[in-house]
């Protein structure tokens, strides 16, 4: 009976973030949906826009690390073993991917709506 229970996961995140949890989930879902619809509409990726979004993503990753450092009153200088570097990589990666998708979608939709 000791497997991961998604409801327990949800309960812990609800206690941690309160209503912000739903705002963040909605934001993530909206970002992914906007990205997916944009891909279908444009029938592919715009490489120029992607590169720009990825550059923004690099900073997004750094921002995620800064946030993590603030909330934990610590930082990557406290890394003590490989699993810590893995965690730092993951936090940076989540920040990078999230920002890239968001920036790509916003830029794409702005261009699309302007054309009309």
């Amino acid at each position: 009976m000791k497997e991961l229970d998604p409801m327990v996961f949800l309960a812990v995140f609800q206690e941690m973030l309160g209503p912000m949890l739903w705002v963040l989930i909605l934001l993530a879902l909206a970002g992914i949906a906007a990205f997916a619809v944009l891909l279908l509409r444009e029938k592919g990726l715009s490489s120029q826009r992607l590169v720009r979004a990825e550059i923004a993503g690099l900073f997004g990753g750094v921002a995620a690390l800064v946030l993590a450092a603030r909330f934990t009153v610590s930082g990557f200088s406290d890394a003590g073993g490989p699993v810590d570097w893995l965690l730092i990589g993951l936090i940076w990666g989540v920040g990078l991917a999230g920002t890239t998708i968001l920036v790509y979608s916003v830029a794409g939709w702005t261009a699309l709506l302007r054309k009309r």
Partner: protein
Amino acid sequence: MNGDNRERHQAFPQLSRRGFFALGAAAGLGALVASPAAATQSARVKSSARIVIAGAGAAGLAAASRLMQRLDGAKVILLDRRQEHFYQPGFTLIGAGLKPQSYVVSGTADYLPQGVEWIQERAAEFDPEGKRVVTDAGRAIPYDYLIVATGLSLDYASIEGMDTKLIGSNGIGSIYASPEAASATWKLMSEFADKGGVGLFGRPATEMKCAGAPLKYTFITDDYLRRRGNRGKAELTYTAHNKALFSVPIVSEKVRMLFQDRQVKVRHDHVMTGIDPGRKVATYRTPNGSAEIPFDFINVVPPMRAPDPVRNSPLRWQEGIFAADGWMEVDKASLRHKRFDTVFGVGDVAGVPKGKTAASVKWQVPVMVDHLVAAIEGKTSDSVYNGYTSCPLITRLGQAMLVEFDYQDNLVPSFPGIVAPLEELWITWVMKTMALKPTYLAMLRGRS
């Protein structure tokens, strides 16, 4: 018996590497969300039983929540006079200057499950023969089943010269007495880290809440001194009540190495018996008689005993190592009283060998509730609590060791091969500062 492995109850699930990576997106928080063994999904049991819970701390509230999930129609009565709820694992963080007092204070009413009757009186007398509890207001409350979750009492008075009013002055700190005391202790410790001098740490000879906490506080003080460039001006001494630094030998040895590395002196077989605030001297009982140690800063850890209503009741251990301080005589696997089968004891008051921690509560309560619900149904339960407890042992600001163990002093790491149990890691610090409180609050609501 090879059933031992199967019966491990851990705060964390055994994870495959793949499972771990799946958790990565949650920044390691998955560590804390394993679901206890209790079958919360099973159909609710119809019952008209009258269940009294004495104490609305972590164990009492978690028990109330679980019972309401499992039973339909039962009358659950919670007894506690205090309106405030304290998140006790946060006291060390206040004492370390990392969190404000408000971090640990909330209200009992915030976690009270629907349908539970809260009587704002304290259990003053237990009468297990008559199956009733008498409150401090003189009211007799009968029960079919009783859960004792009164916590423990901090016996500052047994240290000669010590008074909680002294905390925050004369170099006397103590993070246990209240959130205010923890905050006052931080002010003193911070001053000490600015000036240096002699810092005294230690633990009582009694059973105690989280035996890692006094060690953590020693490490944190050391780190502040170093960060402020004053470690050379300070001498830190840890007084242990016996020949070990921790009850689990492998952890004790690791702490010995870390203390050596941080130049923390250790004095074994020192039990604090008195304090002289004017002279700033602490007195200890040692095998060679009484010894005095002067200090500029001290973190007093009071002896801890079962609260008087339990100590003065038939519920206490009658003999053995838990008898002197009146801990409750429960079976260590089921948390059921050994002599009164309608009585259960969970949390700090339980006279069991290990761990008076929130992690213990998290794993005791579902097991205890399984046995209670089975008793109501006229069945038996095979749920077992194996003594699992855990301690994120902070070793410097930004790092902690995740120490998890059971009744038999086994290490029971949740991420074998990934999060090493005796390594100083940032990920463990992240868990402690970010995820433990939400997990604790979810536990109070019966959701983790």
